[in-house]
Symmetry: C2
Subunit: 254 residues, 2 copies
DNA sequence: AACTTTGGTTCAAAATTGTGAAACGAAGGC
DNA sequence: GCCTTCGTTTCACAATTTTGAACCAAAGTT
């Protein structure tokens, strides 16, 4: 399952390289993109004007930006899953009661994407937002998903994306991760103790279909100061389990 | 300002035609897409496998779907504007107090896209969601924006997109629209009395930068039965004005 | 169990297009 | 008024995309 296109369309690749450059540069002109990607200006100009014509890019003055039209595609991808609609009300409830940050993550191509997040009154401000992609091995959410994926799939993912260290506490060893995932499977809950963001703790539970396939994972996260051992290991997990049960039931009958 | 690319990249156009086909067909195989677009199967296959390799499309079994990765691009486009972050808390407040549906729309390429919406407890269920694109002339939100765009820009937009009728009450005449927009400018509020969705009424106010450029529009909508004349024309407008004032102030100082 | 259908994948030749250097033009800074 | 920067245009050629036919694999039918 190494998805290598036999006859790849080079222009399609270039198109997305240019769009990604626009994201990275947070809007840019023809020359800036050309320099960034080491392509001829005239060529980049052709791509950008085509993208603008197609309404996927906007030109303000002389700089180009990624268009909100992508929200249409992104929202379609998100709404395609029942998960989003069904999980949202449960998540809102938890955020309201606990005051912390509640997250929903799904996996695609071996990486995680936040598809919904809701902040309670006391919630921390963190870097991630809807649409952010993360490595699976360094978040509680990701580990909850990995733990319920077939083992060969997990190997594939590690081979493809590696186990880069994000903080000092990130798991970077293949065997250590394997053991951790076994614990997660047994306990039904995954933890993240400052493995992705310093000072941030997090517990997550997987959400599975009635056939046993993981659809995503749900988490609650907050500052280490407030999320002490008992709350992290008892209170929050039971909340998560209750919520994921409801979600799983509702997904089965929808 | 007719954005016609001089040397368009045909492959870029094809790439997006295929992605749009995937949306329309709600996931499809190679043959289905090829038939839909009248392209050779082998060609479509090349595009889809390239898109999958780039992680913008997912293959489940033998059908392809638009990938959640587009949410990354879409969210970037949304977060680029301060508007989204600043309007959200105000909108949440209104939804909570009024119990109706609150919407935020922005314009790009002459069309509107919902970038946030929040439903109060009694809110109606409507077709639109975040990411949905609509014609500007048939919603209160769109008219609020059109009214504050330079006149030549409005002409351009009408020429480009026309004034298609969506319900019996949609404005389809150029001059009638012009008059309506003058009223909106004077009153500061735009209305929609079942012009886009039967049984749905709506009032909207524009949100402008301190330089006078429209950034978007805010609306409250509900069923005709509940949104009677006085509420539509007095109560809701004053709520909207209060909220847009706060938003405009916060945008200026951020 | 053989046959048919359906749909995905591969291949190589033919047709078109993307590429890239250079020149041009417009805008802004010095 | 000159110089710099950056976007836009042009054009010839190399390179890519496009095609249809052939090939497979899986599912459905007789």
């Amino acid at each position: 399952m190494s998805p290598t296109a036999r006859n790849p369309i080079k222009s399609t690749r270039t198109t997305f390289r240019i769009l990604e450059a626009l994201v990275e540069l947070d809007g840019a002109g023809v020359t800036a993109v050309a320099d960034h990607l080491d392509l001829p200006k005239s060529n980049v100009h052709n791509y950008l004007s085509t993208l603008e014509e197609a309404e996927y890019v906007v030109k303000r003055g002389t700089t180009f930006h990624v268009g909100i039209r992508f929200l249409e595609l992104g929202a379609h991808a998100r709404n395609r899953r029942d998960l989003y609609d069904i999980a949202r009300p449960e998540m809102d409830k938890i955020a309201d009661e606990e005051g912390e940050l509640v997250n929903l993550l799904v996996e695609e191509h071996g990486r995680g994407t936040y598809i919904y997040r809701v902040a309670g009154d006391d919630a921390v401000q963190v870097d991630a937002h809807v649409g952010t992609r993360v490595h699976l091995h360094c978040t509680a959410l990701g580990k909850a998903i990995l733990a319920h994926l077939p083992e060969e799939r997990v190997d594939e993912i590690i081979t493809r994306h590696g186990l880069p260290a994000v903080t000092d506490d990130t798991i970077t060893d293949r065997d250590e991760l394997r053991e951790t995932l076994a614990d997660v499977r047994e306990r039904g809950i995954a933890f993240d103790r400052e493995e992705r963001v310093e000072g941030l703790r997090c517990a997550a539970a997987p959400i599975c279909s009635n056939t046993g396939r993981v659809l995503g994972a749900l988490s609650i996260s907050g500052p280490t100061t407030r999320i002490q051992d008992e709350r992290l290991e008892e209170e929050i997990p039971s909340l998560l389990e209750r919520a994921t049960n409801v979600i799983e039931l509702n997904i089965t009958y929808s």
